[in-house]
C-alpha cells in the first residue's frame, strides 16, 4: 500500500514532520509513506489560478496515484494552519484529487490538548463537497506535549503511544480497503432514445439532442445558431467529441468558451438523468488523456506568424501569395483573435464610392469646423496636409452651398481625423499624437487593403456606407455576412487552402535569436508539447493587452482609475504576449499609457454584441435618472468619461424603427435577451421607465425634447452632431451599457515597414509587428473602424517587408 503523508505546516521546525517521519520508518514493512511538504505551496487565490503550477500538480499527481493520505496537522489558533488550508483550497478548486480518497488525521502539539480542536475542523474541511475526502472515523491520534514525546533517534518514547498509533494505522489500512471497494465505478444503464434538452450558452439557451443506447452516449447534436460564430465553435465540436470518445462527463472546458463548454456538459447530464441514469457516475469517470509525446518537436518554415487574428492571417495570406511557406501559431483553440469580435466596418477613404451617398445632417458642419481649426494647434509635420485638406473642403462646401450634397471624403480627411482623434494629453500633461509617417502609411493604403481583401474573397456591401461607434466619419466598408467573422472565415479558408499551416492552442513562449537576429520561436503546443520553430522571419500579430488588467494598470497614464474588475470587449487572449516576447529581445515601446474604453459595452460580459447597437445618429443615451447626458456623436473618450461621471451604467434608448437599424442582432436574439432580462422592452415609455427604474415623467420629457431636436436639426442641450430617427414607434427598447476596456494604443515601436525597432531606433533583424501589438499610430485614441484598417494594412506590410528583407521576394 502506498500513502502520501502531508506535513501540515510550513514551519522550519515541526513535530508533525517528526511524527510522519517516525510513521514512515516504523510502518515501512506494511506500507510505503512518501512525505510531502507545504513549503512552496502558493497562497490560494481564486482570481489567480495556479492549479497548473508544478508544485500543485505534484500534489495532485501523487495523491491521485496513492491509496490514501495521512495529514499531520498542528493547531494554530484552534484551527488549521493557513498553509495547510491553502493547499486544501487548491485541491478543491479546479482539480479534486482528494475526492473519494481515504484520509487519516494525526496531530502533534505542544499543549496537552494535542491538536484536538484542529482535528475536528480539519474533518469538516475534508468533508466539504469540493474536497470530498473519506476521512476515517474515530481513532483520533493526538500527540500532546510533542516536545517531550520523541527520543534522540526520533522514536516515540512511550510504548503506550506507539501501540495506539499502531492500532490507528492498522485500522486505516483496513479502512483504505473498504473505501477502495466503495469507489469501484458504478455500472450505468440508459433508457435508450434521443433526448431533447437545452444547454445554457453565452447568449442563452441552446437546443440539444442527445442519443443514448443501453450503455453508451452515441451522439450529441447542438443547434448553435444563436451563439457568436467563431468563438464557441470549438466548444461545440470538441466537448461532444470528448464526451462520446471517453464516455465521460469529466471534460475540460475550452478556454475562452467556458460558459458554452459547461452548457454542453450540463445538457448531456440532463439527458442522462432523463434516461434514468446518474450523471455523477459519468462525472467521476476518468478524463481522456493524450498519448505520450516526444520531448521537443522541431518545425521548419519560412515565416512564423504569432497570432491568428486579422493581422496574422492577412500576413500569412500575403506570404503564401509569394509562394513561401508560413506557419501561424495561435494560443487559443479558435482562430480570429479580436477580429471576430469587431463590429464589422473598416475605414478607408474611397471618395468615388462615397460620393454616391447623400450627405446627412450635420456633416457639412463637421467639415466646416475642421477648416476653422487654428493652424497653430496642428503639429508641424501635419500642417501641409492640413492646408491641402482645407482647400479640398472649401471647394466642396462652395460647390454644395445650396444643396444637401454628397458624402465627402479623402485620404487627407481620414489622415487628419486619425491625427486629431489620437491627439491627447495624459494625467501628467504629456502630449501624444499619431506618428506622421505611420498615419500616412495607414491612410494612404487602407483602400488597397479593401481591394486586396476583395481579391482574397471578402465581399463588401457596397449599398451602404457606415460609421462604427467613435469613427467620426462615414467611411466604413461593411463586409457581407457576420461582422468581423466574415474576414476571418475568408482569410482562414485562404490560408489553409493555399498550403499555410495554422496551429491552435500553441503558445509562443520566447523568440529564438542568433547573433541578434530573430530566427524562430519556442512554443508550447497541445498537451504541453514543446516546439522549436525555425524560420527566416517572425511576424508578431498577437494583439494588445486589454484583457490584462494588471498590465493596463501598470502602464496607465491616462485614466484616473481602472477598476480591478473592469470588463473587456476583447478576447481573453489579449494579454500582451507579443510585447513581452519582443521586449525580451530589445524592442522599444511607445505610447503604452494610453488605452481606450468602449463606452457601449454589456455591463455583465463586456461584450459589444448584446442589446441593440445602432448607428450613432440613432443613439439616444440616457443616464440612471432617465435624462440625456452627452452628445451621442462624441468620441469614445467623451462618451466614456460622461458615462463614468454618471455612475458608469447607462441605457441606449430605441424605438421599433431605430431597432431596425441595429447591425448586430436578429428578432430571435432580441426576444431571447428580453426574456433573460438583459434587454428591456415595453409598449409605452412609462412602462419602460419603470422597468429600468427611472422616473416615467422624466423619461417621457427626455424623449419629447429629443424628438423636437431631431425636427429642428439642432440639439441645444448637448449639440449632437447628426440625427436620423425619432423615438416614437412602440415597442420601445432600453439596452443597459457600461464602459469596458477595448483597445490598447501603445505597443512595440515600428517603422513604416513594420520592422520592430530598438530604443536606439535600429530594426531588429527578422522581427516584424502588425496590428494592436504595435504602437504609434492611434496614439491617445483610436477612431472606430481604424483598427481593421490598421491590421489589414500593416499585416500586408509586415509580410511584404519580411519577404523582401529575408526571402528576397519583391512585388
Amino acid at each position: 500500500m502506498k500513502f502520501i503523508g502531508i506535513v501540515g505546516t510550513n514551519a522550519r521546525k515541526s513535530y508533525n514532520r517528526q511524527l510522519l517521519t517516525y510513521m514512515q520508518t516504523h510502518f515501512q514493512d506494511q506500507a510505503e509513506i512518501e512525505i510531502l511538504e507545504l513549503t512552496d505551496v502558493p497562497m490560494f487565490n481564486e482570481s489567480q489560478d495556479q492549479t497548473d503550477s508544478p508544485v500543485i500538480q505534484n500534489f495532485i499527481q501523487k495523491i491521485t496515484a496513492a491509496d490514501g493520505v495521512i495529514v499531520a496537522t498542528p493547531e494554530h489558533n484552534h484551527s488549521l494552519p493557513s498553509a495547510l488550508k491553502s493547499l486544501l483550497e487548491w485541491l478543491s478548486f479546479k482539480a479534486h484529487p482528494l475526492d473519494g480518497k481515504p484520509v487519516m488525521i494525526v496531530g502533534a502539539s505542544y499543549s496537552v490538548q494535542g491538536s484536538s480542536r484542529v482535528q475536528l475542523h480539519l474533518r469538516q474541511v475534508l468533508d466539504a463537497p469540493g474536497v470530498g475526502a473519506n476521512v476515517m472515523p474515530g481513532s483520533e491520534f493526538l500527540l500532546g506535549r510533542a516536545h517531550t514525546a520523541f527520543d534522540e533517534q526520533g522514536n516515540l518514547k512511550s510504548s503506550g503511544t506507539v501501540d495506539f498509533l499502531t492500532s490507528c494505522f492498522k485500522k486505516f489500512m483496513k479502512f483504505t480497503k473498504v473505501v477502495e471497494a466503495m469507489n469501484v465505478p458504478d455500472e450505468i444503464n440508459y433508457q435508450p432514445g434521443t433526448y431533447d434538452v437545452t444547454a445554457t450558452g453565452h447568449n442563452g439557451e441552446l437546443p440539444m439532442q442527445v442519443t443514448l443506447s443501453k450503455d453508451r452516449i452515441e451522439n450529441i447534436q447542438i443547434d448553435a445558431s444563436t451563439e457568436t460564430e467563431g468563438i464557441a465553435d470549438v466548444a461545440f465540436e470538441r466537448i461532444p467529441k470528448q464526451i462520446v470518445d471517453g464516455q465521460t462527463l469529466d471534460v475540460d472546458a475550452v478556454s475562452g468558451a467556458s460558459i458554452t463548454s459547461h452548457g454542453v456538459i450540463d445538457g448531456v447530464a440532463e439527458a442522462v438523468k432523463q434516461a434514468g441514469a446518474d450523471p455523477d457516475i459519468l462525472k467521476k469517470r476518468p478524463k481522456q488523456t493524450a498519448a505520450a509525446k516526444p520531448a521537443i518537436k522541431d518545425l521548419d518554415t519560412d515565416v512564423v506568424v504569432v497570432g491568428a487574428g486579422g493581422a496574422g492571417l492577412t500576413a500569412a495570406a500575403k506570404i503564401l501569395q509569394s509562394g513561401k511557406r508560413v506557419l501561424v501559431l495561435e494560443k487559443f483553440p479558435a482562430v480570429g483573435g479580436n477580429t471576430v469580435r469587431a463590429g464589422g466596418p473598416m475605414n478607408a477613404a474611397d471618395p468615388d464610392w462615397q460620393r454616391q451617398f447623400d450627405a446627412i445632417l450635420g456633416e457639412k458642419h463637421t467639415l466646416k469646423e475642421i477648416t476653422e481649426i487654428d493652424e497653430a494647434t496642428i503639429d508641424p509635420e501635419y500642417r501641409p496636409d492640413f492646408r491641402a485638406l482645407k482647400d479640398q473642403i472649401n471647394d466642396y462646401l462652395q460647390e454644395n452651398t445650396d444643396q444637401r450634397g454628397y458624402l465627402f471624403d479623402s485620404k487627407l480627411l481620414h489622415r487628419i481625423q486619425t491625427y486629431l482623434g489620437g491627439k491627447r494629453r495624459d494625467l501628467q500633461g504629456h502630449k501624444i499624437y499619431g506618428q506622421y509617417d505611420l498615419v500616412k502609411e495607414l491612410t494612404d493604403h487602407a483602400l488597397e487593403s479593401v481591394q486586396w481583401l476583395e481579391k482574397i474573397g471578402v465581399e463588401f456591401d457596397k449599398t451602404q456606407v457606415t460609421m462604427p461607434v467613435g469613427a467620426i466619419w462615414r467611411r466604413g466598408h461593411k463586409p457581407m455576412g457576420d461582422l468581423g467573422f466574415a474576414y476571418i472565415k475568408t482569410l482562414k479558408q485562404y490560408v489553409t487552402s493555399h498550403g499555410g499551416t495554422i496551429m491552435t492552442e500553441t503558445d509562443v513562449t520566447q523568440l529564438t535569436t542568433e547573433n541578434g537576429r530573430v530566427v524562430g520561436v519556442q512554443a508550447q503546443g497541445v498537451d504541453h508539447q514543446e516546439l522549436a520553430v525555425h524560420a527566416q522571419a517572425v511576424i508578431l500579430a498577437s494583439g494588445g493587452f486589454a484583457a490584462n488588467t494588471k498590465m493596463l494598470k501598470q502602464y496607465n497614464t491616462y485614466w484616473t482609475n481602472i477598476d480591478d474588475d473592469i470588463k473587456t470587449t476583447n478576447s481573453p487572449a489579449m494579454t500582451g504576449d507579443g510585447i513581452r516576447l519582443a521586449t525580451a529581445v530589445g524592442a522599444d515601446l511607445v505610447g503604452m499609457g494610453f488605452s481606450q474604453m468602449m463606452p457601449v459595452s454589456d455591463p455583465d460580459t463586456g461584450e459589444l454584441f448584446s442589446g441593440l447597437q445602432v448607428p450613432p445618429q440613432n443613439y439616444v443615451m440616457i443616464n440612471q435618472q432617465g435624462k440625456r447626458f452627452v452628445n451621442e456623436y462624441g468620441s469614445r473618450d467623451q462618451l466614456t468619461q460622461a458615462a463614468i461621471d454618471n455612475g458608469s451604467l447607462f441605457y441606449l434608448l430605441a424605438d421599433d424603427e431605430i431597432k431596425k437599424t441595429a447591425y448586430n442582432t436578429t428578432q430571435a436574439k432580441i426576444d431571447q435577451q428580453v426574456e433573460a432580462g438583459t434587454l428591456f422592452r415595453a409598449d409605452t415609455l412609462e412602462d419602460l421607465a419603470r422597468q429600468i427604474k427611472v422616473d416615467p415623467d422624466t423619461l417621457v420629457k427626455t424623449v419629447h425634447d429629443y424628438n423636437s431636436y431631431v425636427d429642428a436639426g439642432d440639439d441645444p442641450e448637448f449639440h449632437k452632431n447628426a440625427f436620423d430617427l425619432k423615438v416614437k414607434v412602440a415597442p420601445f427598447y432600453a439596452t443597459p451599457r457600461k464602459p469596458a476596456t477595448h483597445h490598447t494604443m501603445g505597443g512595440l515601436k515600428i517603422d513604416t515597414g513594420a520592422h520592430v525597432l530598438t530604443a536606439g531606433g535600429t530594426a531588429i533583424d527578422g522581427l516584424y509587428a502588425a496590428g494592436e501589438v504595435a504602437g504609434g499610430i492611434h496614439a491617445g485614441n483610436r477612431l472606430g473602424g481604424n483598427s481593421l484598417a490598421d491590421i489589414f494594412t500593416f499585416g500586408r506590410i509586415a509580410a511584404t517587408s519580411a519577404l523582401a528583407d529575408e526571402l528576397a521576394v519583391t512585388d
Binding site: F44, S47, S82
Partner: protein, 205 residues
C-alpha cells in the same frame, strides 16, 4: 465610533467586499468604517523572528486604533479562507492587536447557507488564547445568494436582510460601547504581547 472592516479574501471580485462597502456607506452617520484588504500580506510561515512584516504591522496598527473590528468572511471548504487564516496567524504571532477588541462576524456566500460554518470556525479561532478577541455573542449575520443580493448602486435588494443588518450593527455599536466600559477593569492581563505555540505550555508545565 471608529471601526475596521477586514475583507476575508484575496479574490478580485468579492461579495464580502461589497457587503463591507455597503456597510461603510449605509452606516456612515453612526461609525467610520475603514476597509482593510489582506490580499497583499505575505503568507504566514512561523518565522523565528517574531517581528511583523510592514503590511502586517499596518493592519495591526489600524486594528489597534479602532474601537472594533468587523470580519467579512467567505466560506471555503466549510471554513474560512487560508488567506484570512494567514492574516489572523500573523496578528496572533506578532503584535496581538485583537486582545479585548470587540469583533463582529459577517459573511456572504453565493449559496444559500451564507457562510454559517466558516463563521462558527472564525468564532472559535478568534477566541483562542493567542487572540482573545471579544466576539459579540448572539449575532450572526449571514448573507446567502450574495451574487443577487446587491443592486446596481451596491445596496441590499432584500429589505428584510437590510433591516436585519441595521439591527445587528446597532447591537454591535452598543456592544462596543459596553465593552469599552468593562475592559479597563478587566483582568485579562497579558505579560507579553508576543506569543508562540511553544510558549503556550512553557509556563504551565
Amino acid at each position: 465610533m471608529k471601526l475596521v472592516g477586514i475583507v476575508g479574501t484575496n479574490a478580485v471580485k468579492s461579495t464580502n467586499r461589497q457587503l463591507l462597502q455597503y456597510m461603510q456607506r449605509h452606516f456612515a452617520s453612526t461609525a467610520e468604517l475603514e476597509i482593510c484588504e489582506i490580499a497583499d500580506l505575505p503568507a504566514f510561515n512561523e518565522p523565528e523572528q517574531r517581528d511583523a512584516p510592514a503590511a502586517v504591522q499596518q493592519l495591526a496598527d489600524q486594528i489597534e486604533h479602532a474601537d472594533g473590528v468587523i470580519f467579512a468572511t467567505p466560506e471555503y471548504d466549510h471554513s474560512i479562507p487560508a488567506v484570512l487564516k494567514s492574516a489572523i496567524e500573523w496578528l496572533s504571532y506578532t503584535t496581538r492587536p485583537l486582545i479585548n477588541k470587540p469583533v463582529m462576524v459577517v459573511g456572504a456566500s453565493y449559496g444559500s447557507l451564507g457562510t454559517s460554518r466558516a463563521q462558527a470556525h472564525l468564532r472559535q479561532i478568534l477566541e483562542a488564547p493567542e487572540l482573545k478577541a471579544l466576539v459579540m455573542p448572539n449575532v450572526e449575520y449571514m448573507l446567502g445568494h450574495s451574487l443577487q443580493a446587491f443592486d446596481e448602486q451596491g445596496d441590499l435588494v432584500d429589505q428584510a436582510k437590510a433591516q436585519e443588518l441595521d439591527k445587528d450593527f446597532q447591537a454591535f455599536t452598543e456592544f462596543v460601547t459596553l465593552m469599552q466600559k468593562i475592559t479597563p477593569q478587566n483582568k485579562f492581563f497579558e505579560e507579553t504581547r508576543q506569543f508562540s505555540w511553544s510558549q503556550l505550555t512553557a509556563g504551565k508545565e
